[in-house]
C-alpha cells in the first residue's frame, strides 16, 4: 500500500506557496483560500495517516523513498512512527488555524502566506524524514523563512534602553523586529553548525554510505565520540527548543513576530528542537544521552523555573506568553531527560498539548493587540466586556497552561512529573511542580489584569470580539485542549507504541554505561 500520502502532506503547503506566486496580489480571497487549502490538505492527510496507522504493528509505517544524491547516500525517505503521527496532527491543526487567525492581515499578505507555507513544509518534512540529511534540510527550511517573516511583518516591543549599555541597545535597536529577526536567525544557525558536525561524524563513523536513520541508529559509535557529539546536538537542537541559556532569542522573536508566525514558532517550531534532541540525540547516541541526561534534566529544571519567574515579571503580554513557552519547553526536556516510559510519553504529549495551548494563546494575544494596538498589561483592564469570547478562551488556555485536570496540559505535566519521580533523580519533580504553581500565578494575574475589573480604559475604544475565521481558529484550538485533555488516549496510544519500541534499547545502553562507571 503506497499512496504517497506523506509526500502529499509535505509537498502540499509548498505547492500551495508556489501557486500563490502566480496569483494576483489583489485577489485577497483567493490568496487566503489557497493558503488555507495548503494547510487543510496536510491536516486531512495527517488525520488519514492517524486513522490508518496500525497500532498493533507499530514501528515505522508508510515508507516512501526517492533518491536525491545517491553518490552520497542521501535519499528523500519518509515514514511515520507513533510520535510523528501526533506531531503531524499538531502541525496540521496549527497551520490551518494560523492561516485563519491571520485572515485580516493587510500588508503584503501574499508574500506572507508564501513564506508561511514554505516554513510549514519544512516542519512536516522534519517530522516524517527517515534520512538524517533530509531531516537537517527540512529543519533549515523551517528555521530560515522566519527571518523575513519577523523582519517584515513583525511588530515592536517596548524595551526601554537603560543602564551603562544603553547605547548598545539603541545601536542595535533592541526590541525592534529586525533585531529580533537577526538574533533568532543567527542563534539558531550557530546551533545548526553544531548539528552539522555531528551529522558528519555519524555519517562517516557508520561507514559513509548512507544517511538512513535506521542504519545510523544501529551503528555502534565509539563511546568517546558519543560523549562529545551528544552535547553538540543538545546545544544545536536545544537552541531551537529554548534550552537555557540559549533561549534568549525566543522571547524577542515571539514577541516581535506576527500572530500566525508566533503560533507556528512557539506551537510547532520549538518542538522541532526538542524532537531533534530526542529523535536524533537520544535515539542515535544512547550512551552519550545516558551520560548527559542528568545535565539535560538539571538544565530543564532551570528552564521551567527561570521561564516561569521571568514570565511573572513581564509587562508586555507577548513576552509573558513567550517566557511561558520557555518554561513549558523545559517540561518537555525534563520528560526527555528522565529516560522513563512515562517521562517520554509526557514529553511528546507536552509537545502536542503545549503546541495547541500556545497556539491558542498567541492567536488571542494577536486579536487583543490588533484591536488595542498595545500589549502593555498594566494599561489594560475590563476587556471582557467588549470581547467576552476572547476572554473566555484566554482563561481556558490559561487553565490548561497551569495544568488543570481535564485539560491537555495536565495530562502532559502529570506524566512528566511521574516520570521524573521514577527516574534516578526524583527531586526533579519538585521544581517542576513549583514551576506549574508559578505559572498559575502569572497566567491568572494576566487574565485578571487584562479582562476583568474596571474598564476598559478610554484609550481602548476600538475593541470588539473575534470575527468569522478568527472564531473558527479559537474554537478548533479550544476544543482540542478539552478533547485531548479529557480523553488523552486518542493521542497517547500512538506515542506509547513508539516510546515502548525505542526506550528499551536506549535504557539498556544507558544502564551499561552505569555499569562501566
Amino acid at each position: 500500500m503506497n499512496d504517497h500520502l506523506l509526500s502529499i502532506i509535505v509537498g502540499a503547503p509548498f505547492l500551495a506557496g508556489v501557486l500563490l506566486l502566480l496569483v494576483d496580489d489583489k485577489s485577497r480571497l483567493l490568496v487566503r483560500l489557497l493558503s488555507l487549502t495548503g494547510g487543510l490538505v496536510p491536516l486531512l492527510g495527517a488525520i488519514e495517516v492517524a486513522r490508518t496507522w496500525d497500532m498493533a504493528k507499530g514501528g515505522l509505517q508508510r515508507p516512501e523513498k526517492y533518491p536525491l544524491v545517491p553518490s552520497l547516500g542521501i535519499e528523500l525517505s519518509f515514514a511515520v512512527d507513533g510520535w510523528s503521527v501526533s506531531l503531524l496532527l499538531l502541525t496540521g491543526i496549527i497551520i490551518s488555524t494560523g492561516v485563519m487567525a491571520s485572515w485580516t492581515l493587510k500588508e503584503r499578505s501574499k508574500e506572507f502566506f508564501i513564506l508561511l507555507l514554505v516554513l510549514v513544509s519544512g516542519v512536516f518534512g522534519v517530522f516524517v524524514s527517515q534520512d538524517l540529511f533530509v531531516f537537517f534540510l527540512f529543519y533549515e527550511i523551517a528555521v530560515l523563512p522566519m527571518y523575513l517573516l519577523i523582519g517584515i511583518w513583525g511588530s515592536r516591543g517596548k524595551v526601554p534602553a537603560r543602564g551603562p549599555f544603553a547605547f548598545v541597545w539603541k545601536r542595535f535597536d533592541i526590541g525592534g523586529r529586525e533585531y529580533a529577526a537577526m538574533k533568532l536567525t543567527l542563534m539558531l544557525l550557530v546551533g545548526s553548525a553544531a548539528i552539522l558536525i555531528v551529522i558528519f561524524a555519524m555519517y562517516f563513523e557508520a561507514g559513509g554510505k548512507t544517511f538512513d536513520l535506521g542504519v545510523l541508529g544501529h551503528a555502534h559509535y565509539p563511546r568517546a565520540m558519543q560523549l562529545w557529539a551528544f552535547p553538540l546536538l543538545w546545544l544545536g537542537f536545544g537552541s531551537l527548543a529554548g534550552v537555557f541559556p540559549f533561549h534568549t532569542w525566543s522571547p524577542d522573536g515571539h514577541a516581535a513576530a506576527p500572530t500566525a508566525v508566533s503560533m507556528l514558532h512557539a506551537g510547532v517550531l520549538m518542538k522541532l528542537g526538542a524532537f531533534g534532541v530526542i529523535r536524533i540525540g537520544m535515539l542515535m547516541l544512547p550512551e552519550g544521552a545516558g551520560y548527559w541526561a542528568p545535565y539535560v534534566g538539571g538544565v530543564a529544571v532551570v528552564n521551567v523555573l527561570y521561564g516561569a519567574l521571568s514570565a511573572m515579571n513581564q509587562k508586555d503580554l507577548k513576552y509573558v506568553i513567550a517566557y511561558s513557552s520557555v518554561s513549558h519547553m523545559g517540561v518537555v526536556m525534563l520528560g526527555a531527560a528522565t529516560m522513563t516510559v512515562d517521562g517520554w510519553n509526557g514529553a511528546i504529549y507536552q509537545m502536542f498539548a503545549h503546541g495547541m495551548m500556545t497556539g491558542l494563546f498567541f492567536a488571542l494575544v494577536g486579536l487583543v493587540y490588533e484591536r488595542a494596538h498595545s500589549r502593555q498589561i498594566p494599561t489594560m483592564g475590563g476587556f471582557a466586556k467588549p470581547m467576552p469570547g476572547v476572554a473566555a478562551f484566554f482563561v481556558l488556555a490559561g487553565l490548561s497552561s497551569l495544568g488543570l485536570p481535564g485539560l491537555a496540559g495536565f495530562v502532559a505535566e502529570f506524566l512528566v512529573f511521574v516520570g521524573a519521580w521514577q527516574s534516578q533523580h526524583w527531586w526533579w519533580a519538585l521544581p517542576g511542580i513549583l514551576g506549574a504553581w508559578v505559572t498559575a500565578v502569572y497566567v491568572l494575574r494576566a487574565a485578571k489584569n487584562i479582562f476583568f475589573g474596571e474598564g476598559p480604559p478610554a484609550q481602548y475604544h476600538d475593541l470588539h470580539d473575534a470575527r468569522r475565521t478568527e472564531w473558527a481558529a479559537l474554537w478548533v484550538l479550544g476544543a482540542c485542549l478539552i478533547v485531548f485533555g479529557s480523553y488523552p488516549k486518542l493521542i497517547l496510544d500512538f506515542i506509547h507504541v513508539a516510546t515502548n519500541q525505542y526506550l528499551p534499547r536506549i535504557a539498556e545502553a544507558a544502564s551499561q554505561l552505569a555499569l562501566k562507571q
Binding site: 534540510l137 550557530v190 553548525a193 558536525i197 558528519f200 561524524a201
Partner: protein, 485 residues
C-alpha cells in the same frame, strides 16, 4: 604517442580563438550604430560553443605533453565559457551605453582572456603555465579601467585605480611566480610538472614552492594577497566585475590544483599547514572586513575573499574527493556571484559604485529582481536548496574526511558571520522603505541583462534543487584529474 603537432585536445580553445577572430573581423566591418550586435554575437557563439563541448572529446596530450586534456580541463573550459557567455550577455547594454565606440575591443579582450583561462587548466609545463597566465591577466587589467574615459559613470580616479591596482598586482604576482618557478627549474632541471613532482625536497625547493604558491594566491585573491579586490571591484564596470569575480578564480584554482596536487604532491605534509593558514586568514579577514562595508560591490569583494577560503578547503582536503568538491564549489560560485553583480547592474546601471541604500525597497519597486538578489545572497551564505548550500556542505564533508573536523566547525561558524552581512543587503531590499526619490523609480532592465539574471537564477535554484548531475560531473572530472596528473 603524443607529438608536438597533435592539437585535437585543444579543439575547444581553437574554436574560441575562431570566435575571437570572427569578432575582430565583424568589428571592422560593422557600422557604428550597430556595434551592439557584436556583444550578442559573442554571447550566442559562446553559448553555442558551451553546448558544443558536450559533443567534443578534448582528452589527450598535446605539445609533447606540455598540455594534457581530460574531463577535468573540459569541465573548467565549460565553466569559463559559461561565465564568458553570461558576462557578454549581461554587458551588452552597459557597454553600448557607456563605451559605444569601444565595443569591439571589449568583447575581444574578453575572448582573449578567456582563451588564457581555457588553456591553463591543462598546462603541465611551467612555460605554458606562465604564458597562459599572462594571456589571462593583461586583458583583465585593461577591461578593469574601461570606465575611466566615460563621463557618465562618475569617478574617474576610481576607474584608474581599479585598472592600475589590478595591473600592478597582476604584474607583481607574475614576477613572484616566475621567481619561484625559476628556483624550481634551477633545482630540478625541468619545466615539466611530472618531473618536478619526483624531485627531492630541499630547503631551496621548498622556498621556490612557497613563492610560486604566493604568486598564484595573488591571482585568486587569498589573504594576504587580497588588497586589490575591493578597490578594483568598486571602480570597474559592474558586468565586467561579474566576470572578474569568478572566472579568474576558477582558473586560478585549476592552476593551484596543478601546482599543489601535481607538482608538489609528494610534499603535502609540508604544504598542508600553509594551506590551512591561508584558509583561516582568508575566511576570517574576508568575513570580518565585509561587515562594515557600505558599498555592495566592496562587500561582495570581501565576501569573495572569504569564499575563496572555503574553496581552498577543497584543495586542502585534496584527493579525488576534495578536488571534486572544489570544482562543484567553483561552478556554483560562478553562477551565484555573477547573478548578484548582474542584479546590482540592473539596479544602478549608470554607476560603478553601489551602496546598500541604493537597494532600499527593491522588493516593492521590482519584486523579481529582489527575489533574484535574495536567492543569490542566500546561495552565497550557504542556505539550503540553493546551490551554495551544497557547495559549502561538500567542501565541509571533504575536510571532515581529511580529518580536519575543526575546520568544519570554524567554517560553519564563519558562514553565520557571513550571513549577517548578506542579510544586511537583503534587508535593504526587503525591509527598508524606499526614499521618496527611489519610490517611483522602477529599474528599467534591458532584456539581455534580464536573460542573464534569469539564467543565473535558474542555475542557482536548479543546481540547488537537483545537484546530482553536477556533482557526478565534478566527480568524474576530479577522477580524470587524478588519473592524468
Amino acid at each position: 604517442m603524443p607529438t608536438a603537432f597533435d592539437i585535437a585536445p585543444l579543439m575547444v580553445d581553437l574554436n574560441l580563438l575562431g570566435v575571437a577572430l570572427l569578432v575582430l573581423v565583424l568589428d571592422l566591418g560593422m557600422p557604428h550604430g550597430r556595434k551592439r550586435m557584436l556583444g550578442l554575437t559573442t554571447s550566442i557563439l559562446l553559448f553555442a560553443l558551451f553546448i558544443g563541448t558536450f559533443w567534443m572529446d578534448a582528452s589527450g596530450s598535446a605539445f609533447s605533453g606540455a598540455y594534457v586534456g581530460s574531463a577535468w580541463t573540459l569541465m573548467l573550459k565549460r565553466i569559463t565559457l559559461i561565465a564568458g557567455a553570461l558576462a557578454s550577455l549581461g554587458a551588452i547594454d552597459h557597454v553600448d551605453r557607456h563605451f559605444p565606440h569601444r565595443q569591439g575591443e571589449f568583447y575581444l579582450l574578453l575572448l582573449f582572456t578567456m582563451l588564457g583561462m581555457t588553456i591553463l587548466p591543462g598546462a603541465r609545463d611551467l612555460i605554458l603555465f606562465v604564458v597562459c597566465f599572462e594571456l589571462m591577466g593583461i586583458p583583465l587589467s585593461i577591461m578593469a579601467s574601461y570606465a575611466k574615459a566615460d563621463d557618465r559613470v562618475g569617478v574617474h580616479k576610481h576607474a584608474a585605480e581599479a585598472g592600475l591596482k589590478l595591473y600592478l598586482v597582476s604584474a607583481a604576482s607574475t614576477a613572484i611566480t616566475l621567481f619561484g618557478l625559476s628556483l624550481v627549474y634551477g633545482l630540478t632541471g625541468s619545466t615539466k610538472l611530472a618531473v618536478i613532482a619526483n624531485a627531492h625536497l630541499s630547503p631551496l625547493l621548498g622556498m621556490g614552492m612557497l613563492v610560486t604558491l604566493a604568486g598564484l594566491a595573488f591571482k585568486v585573491g587569498v589573504v594576504p594577497f587580497h588588497m586589490w579586490i575591493p578597490d578594483t571591484y568598486q571602480g570597474a564596470p559592474t558586468p565586467f566585475v561579474a566576470f572578474l569575480s569568478v572566472a579568474p578564480k576558477a582558473t586560478g584554482f585549476a592552476a593551484l590544483a596543478a601546482v599543489v596536487l601535481v607538482a608538489f604532491r609528494n610534499d603535502a605534509a609540508q604544504l598542508g599547514p600553509v594551506l590551512v593558514l591561508l584558509i583561516v586568514a582568508s575566511v576570517v579577514i574576508g568575513s570580518v572586513m565585509a561587515l562594515p562595508q557600505k558599498d555592495v560591490k566592496r562587500l561582495l569583494g570581501y565576501s569573495g575573499i572569504a569564499q575563496v577560503g572555503y574553496m581552498m578547503m577543497g584543495l586542502a582536503a585534496g584527493g579525488e574527493y576534495g578536488t571534486s568538491m572544489l570544482l562543484f564549489y567553483v561552478a556554483g560560485y560562478v553562477v551565484t556571484n555573477m547573478g548578484a553583480f548582474f542584479v546590482l547592474e540592473a539596479v544602478a546601471p549608470n554607476r560603478t559604485g553601489i551602496v546598500i541604500s541604493d537597494l532600499n525597497g527593491l522588493s516593492k519597486r521590482s519584486p523579481w529582481l529582489a527575489l533574484a538578489l535574495l536567492m543569490f545572497l542566500l546561495s552565497l551564505a550557504g542556505i539550503p536548496f540553493v546551490v551554495g548550500f551544497w557547495a559549502k556542505l561538500y567542501v565541509f564533508m571533504a575536510v571532515y574526511q581529511a580529518h580536519q573536523a575543526w575546520l568544519v566547525f570554524f567554517g560553519a561558524l564563519m558562514a553565520m558571520v557571513s550571513l549577517w552581512y548578506y542579510l544586511q543587503v537583503a534587508r535593504a531590499a526587503y525591509m527598508v522603505e524606499p526614499s521618496p526619490e527611489q519610490a517611483g523609480v522602477k529599474p528599467k532592465v534591458a532584456w539581455t541583462l534580464q536573460t542573464a539574471i534569469a539564467l543565473c537564477l535558474l542555475a542557482v535554484v536548479g543546481m540547488g534543487a537537483y545537484p546530482r548531475p553536477f556533482l557526478d560531473g565534478a566527480t568524474a572530472a576530479a577522477r580524470a584529474f587524478m588519473l592524468t596528473k
